[in-house]
C-alpha cells in the first residue's frame, strides 16, 4: 500500500518482480526518494519560520543574553585602573599591599582623574563597599596635583581609608571584570573579611524579602482570581450560547482595555476621596474620618492586579468547562450523590486542566508585573520588577538590575517550562 502520495514517485517493483527493493519511476530507491522529499518539506517549513526566528533572536534573545552578561560582567574598575589590577593579578590573594601596589594605585588614580573616569571607578567600588565613591572622587581631586613617593604614606595621608583591608579586598575582587558579587548581593549576601559568604546586616536585607513578597502576592492574586473566576467561568459555560456570548463581552472588555486605563480607574476609585470611600461613608460602614486607605499600599496592588489578571483565569477555565459533559453530574446525582458531592467529586476534577492553565498563566504574569504596582503600590506594594526598574533608572546600578532580572527570568522560565509540559503552548487561547 505504499501508493503514490507523491505524484512524482510512482512506485514500480523491481523488474523481475521478485526483488523486494521498491524504486521510483526513474529508478531511485524509494526510501531515498522519500527521505529527500521529506527533507525538502522540512526545509520548506523551516524557511517559512526562519525570518521570524531570526527577528526574535536579534531583537529579543540577544538583548536578554546581553543583559545576562551584564549581570556577571562589570569593568568599571578593571578597565580604568589597569596598573593596580595588574598588581592584583601578579600577587596571590592575601598579599599585603606593598609600596609597589600603592605606586600602581596612585598612578591609576592620577590617570583616572585626568581621564575623568574616577567617578565610574568610585561608583563601581561603591556597590561592594558602600561609601567609597566619595573616597575615590576626593582623592581624585588631590591626585591631579600628583603624588610623591613614598606612595603608601602619601595616599594614607590623603585619606586614611586607603589602608583599610576591606577596601583592598573589594578592589581585588573588582580587578577582574567577571564577578558573581551582584548575584550574592541579589540574595542579600556579601563576603566578610575572611572571604566567607555571609548575610548582609539586617537593615540592608531587601532583595530576599522582595522576592518573597512577589511570590506570596502572586500566589494570593492567583488564588483570588480563581475564587472570582471559577463561578463566572461556570456560569458562562452552562448558559446557552447566545446568553453566554453576551456575558462574555463583560469579560473580554476589560481584557481589551488598556492596562493603564484600568490602573487609572482603580486609582480614581480607591483614593481616600474616591468613589469607593464615598460609597462606604454614605452606607455608614466607615466614618468621614475613618476613610480607608485602599491605595498606595499592598491592598491597592492586590485589588488592581486581581482585576487585571482575572480574564486570564476565566478564559482557560471557560474553554475547559465548555467541553464537560453535563450528563456526568446528572448521573452522579441519580446515583444518590448530593449536589455538593457531585460537584466536588465529578465536576471539579474535570475542570483541573483549565484551572492549572489559568493559575499558571496568572502566576507567571503576576510575578513579573511592573506598571500596576509602580502606580498603585506605594512602598509596601512594590514587587521585584519595580526594584529592577529602580536600579535601571535611579541608582544606575545596571549590573545589580541585571542580576535581579536574571533570577526573576530563571523563575519565570521554569514556570513557562512547566506550563508547556502540562498545558502546551499551542493551547494558549486569547478570547
Amino acid at each position: 500500500m505504499a501508493t503514490a502520495l507523491d505524484p512524482h514517485a510512482a512506485v514500480v517493483s523491481g523488474a523481475s518482480g521478485a526483488s523486494p527493493r521498491l524504486t521510483t519511476a526513474d529508478g531511485q530507491p524509494l526510501a531515498r526518494a522519500l527521505a529527500r522529499s521529506s527533507a525538502r518539506a522540512r526545509r520548506r517549513a523551516f524557511l517559512l519560520v526562519a525570518p521570524l526566528l531570526l527577528f526574535v533572536v536579534v531583537t529579543f534573545v540577544i538583548p536578554i543574553g546581553q543583559m545576562l552578561h551584564r549581570s556577571i560582567y562589570n569593568d568599571g574598575f578593571s578597565a580604568n585602573m589597569p596598573q593596580v589590577s595588574a598588581w592584583f593579578a601578579e600577587n596571590p590573594t592575601g598579599t599585603q599591599p606593598d609600596e609597589a601596589a600603592y605606586a600602581a594605585l596612585a598612578a591609576d588614580l592620577t590617570a583616572a582623574a585626568e581621564a575623568r573616569t574616577i567617578g565610574v571607578v568610585g561608583t563601581r567600588m561603591n556597590y561592594d563597599v558602600p561609601g567609597t565613591r566619595s573616597l575615590f572622587t576626593s582623592t581624585g581631586r588631590k591626585a591631579r596635583a600628583g603624588f610623591e613617593p613614598p606612595f603608601r604614606e602619601a595616599l594614607i595621608e590623603a585619606d586614611e581609608d586607603w589602608a583599610d583591608p576591606t577596601l583592598w579586598r573589594a578592589m581585588r575582587s573588582a580587578s577582574t571584570a567577571y564577578t558573581a558579587n551582584f548575584y550574592l548581593a541579589a540574595v542579600d549576601r556579601t563576603r566578610d573579611d575572611e572571604n566567607n559568604i555571609v548575610r548582609v546586616p539586617e537593615r540592608q536585607q531587601v532583595y530576599v524579602m522582595l522576592f518573597q513578597r512577589t511570590f506570596w502576592l502572586s500566589l494570593l492574586i492567583t488564588g483570588l482570581t480563581f475564587l472570582l473566576g471559577f463561578p463566572i467561568a461556570h456560569l458562562l459555560a452552562t448558559l446557552p450560547m447566545r446568553k453566554s456570548n453576551l456575558l462574555m463581552i463583560l469579560v473580554l472588555l476589560p481584557f481589551w482595555t488598556s492596562l493603564l486605563v484600568r490602573t487609572t480607574a482603580w486609582m480614581v476609585l480607591l483614593q481616600q476621596q474616591g468613589v469607593v470611600n464615598d460609597i462606604l461613608v454614605w452606607l455608614g460602614v466607615v466614618g468621614q474620618d475613618g476613610r480607608l486607605k485602599l491605595i498606595y499600599n499592598q491592598v491597592g496592588t492586590i485589588i488592581a492586579m486581581t482585576h487585571i489578571l482575572l480574564p486570564f483565569m476565566i478564559l482557560p477555565l471557560y474553554s475547559v468547562m465548555r467541553t464537560i459533559n453535563p450528563s456526568y453530574v446528572r448521573a452522579a446525582r441519580s446515583l444518590g450523590a448530593s449536589s455538593w458531592t457531585a460537584f466536588r467529586r465529578v465536576y471539579f476534577p474535570q475542570t483541573l486542566p483549565g484551572l492549572g492553565a489559568g493559575a499558571l498563566l496568572v502566576f507567571i504574569l503576576a510575578v513579573g508585573y511592573y506598571i500596576t504596582p509602580a502606580l498603585v503600590g506605594g512602598s509596601s506594594g512594590q514587587l521585584i520588577s519595580n526594584m529592577i526598574a529602580m536600579h535601571m533608572t535611579e541608582t544606575l546600578n545596571w549590573s545589580m538590575a541585571a542580576a535581579l532580572a536574571a533570577i526573576l527570568l530563571a523563575s519565570v522560565l521554569v514556570l513557562y517550562w512547566i506550563y508547556d509540559r502540562l498545558v502546551g503552548i499551542d493551547n494558549l487561547k486569547l478570547g
Binding site: R42, P51, F55, T59, L260, V261, T264, Y370, L375, K429
Partner: protein, 323 residues
C-alpha cells in the same frame, strides 16, 4: 443553568446566591471601566461624583478636560479657533503628538509582526516542521518574559547596537537611526521592540485558525492546476484572514498600550499615548487622564466588536459552527 424541578429548597437558595455572586463579580469586572466615563465629564478637578453631578445638574458636567487634551502643549491656546489654531493643535498639542506617535509606531510594528508571524504560523502548523516545540516556545516567550526584563535587555542592546555614521552603510541608515548612529531613541527601535512584543499574539491566533484548516483544500487547488502562490492567495489566505486580522489587532493593541519599553528605549520624540499617560499619572493626575481613558475605552470597545465579528465569521467559514 435552569434549576431542575427536583431541586431542594436549599439548592434553590444556593442557586440564587450563586447568581447574585456572579452579578457581583461581573460588576467588579466592568464597574471600574465604566465609572471612568462619567467622571471624565466632571466640571471640577475631582475624581469623585460632585454634588451637582449626583443631582444631574448640567453645570456639574463639562467638556473642559477634553478641551485640555487639545490645548495642552499648544503655543497659543487662547487664540481664536480658526484654521491656524487647529494647525497649532496638530503640530504642538502634546496629546495629539502622542496619538500620532502611537499610531505610526503601532501601524508599522503591526505590519512587521503580522507578516513575519503569519508566515511563521504557516510553517509551524505543517506537520513536518522540525524542532516545532522549541521554536514555538522561543517565539511565544516575549509574551511570557516579564516586560521589565525585555525592556532592560533592549535598553542595553539598543544603546550598543550602533553603526559608524561616517561609513557608507551608516549614511544609508542615518535617517532611521539617532544622531550617534544607534537604535536607542529612534522610531525604528520602538517599532522593532513593539513588533517583538506583538508577535506571540499573531502566532497564537493564526495557528489557532490553522488548526481547523482543511489541508485537502490546498491539494484540491493544486490538483486543479493552481500554483502554490495562487493556492495561497486564493484558497488559504481568505480562510485564515479572520485569524490574521485578529492577530494584527492584538499586535496593534499591544503596541498601543505598551509603556515600559517606550520608557526605556524611546527618546523625547517618541512619546506615545501610554507614555504621556504615565507621565500624567506619576506627576499630577488630573481628570484629563480620565478623558484619555474614556477615549481609549471607546477605542477598545470598537476593537473588541471587530474581533468578535471576525471570530464568528472565521468559525463560520471553517464550518465550525452553523451560520
Amino acid at each position: 443553568m435552569a434549576l431542575p424541578t427536583y431541586a431542594s429548597p436549599l439548592e434553590r437558595i444556593w442557586h440564587w446566591t450563586y447568581l447574585a455572586i456572579c452579578v457581583a463579580i461581573f460588576f467588579f469586572l466592568i464597574a471600574p471601566i465604566v465609572v471612568v466615563i462619567p467622571l471624565s465629564f466632571n466640571a471640577e478637578p475631582y475624581f469623585t461624583f460632585t454634588e451637582k453631578m449626583r443631582s444631574f445638574d448640567p453645570e456639574g458636567y463639562s467638556l473642559r478636560w477634553y478641551d485640555t487634551l487639545l490645548t495642552f502643549g499648544m503655543t497659543n491656546p487662547d487664540a481664536p479657533r480658526d484654521t491656524s489654531w487647529w494647525g497649532d493643535v496638530w503640530n504642538n498639542a502634546r496629546w495629539v503628538g502622542a496619538a500620532k506617535n502611537s499610531i505610526i509606531i503601532g501601524v508599522f510594528s503591526t505590519i512587521l509582526a503580522t507578516v513575519l508571524g503569519t508566515l511563521a504560523a504557516l510553517g509551524l502548523s505543517r506537520p513536518e516542521m522540525p524542532f516545532r516545540r522549541l521554536i514555538m516556545a522561543i517565539l511565544i516567550s516575549p509574551m511570557i518574559v516579564p516586560i521589565i526584563i525585555t525592556a532592560t535587555g533592549m535598553f542595553f542592546f539598543y544603546s550598543s547596537a550602533c553603526v559608524d555614521t561616517t561609513s557608507t552603510f551608516g549614511r544609508l541608515l542615518a535617517p532611521v537611526l539617532s544622531n550617534s548612529g544607534c537604535l536607542a531613541n529612534t522610531y525604528l527601535g520602538v517599532i522593532l521592540a513593539h513588533a517583538t512584543l506583538g508577535i506571540p499574539f499573531v502566532i497564537i491566533t493564526v495557528t489557532a485558525t490553522l488548526i481547523g484548516f482543511d489541508q485537502s483544500l490546498n491539494r484540491a487547488a493544486a490538483s486543479l492546476g493552481a500554483n502554490p502562490r495562487t493556492t495561497f492567495f486564493k484558497v488559504t489566505m481568505p480562510l485564515i484572514l479572520p485569524g490574521v486580522i485578529s492577530g494584527a489587532l492584538f499586535a496593534f493593541v499591544t503596541s498601543f498600550d505598551e509603556v515600559v519599553a517606550v520608557l526605556f528605549i524611546a527618546g523625547p520624540d517618541q512619546q506615545t499615548i501610554p507614555r504621556q499617560m504615565w507621565n500624567g499619572i506619576r506627576e499630577q493626575i488630573s481628570p484629563a487622564i480620565l478623558a484619555v481613558a474614556t477615549l481609549l475605552v471607546i477605542f477598545s470597545i470598537a476593537l473588541l466588536a471587530t474581533v468578535e465579528v471576525l471570530r464568528r465569521r472565521g468559525e463560520r467559514l471553517r464550518g465550525l459552527t452553523p451560520a
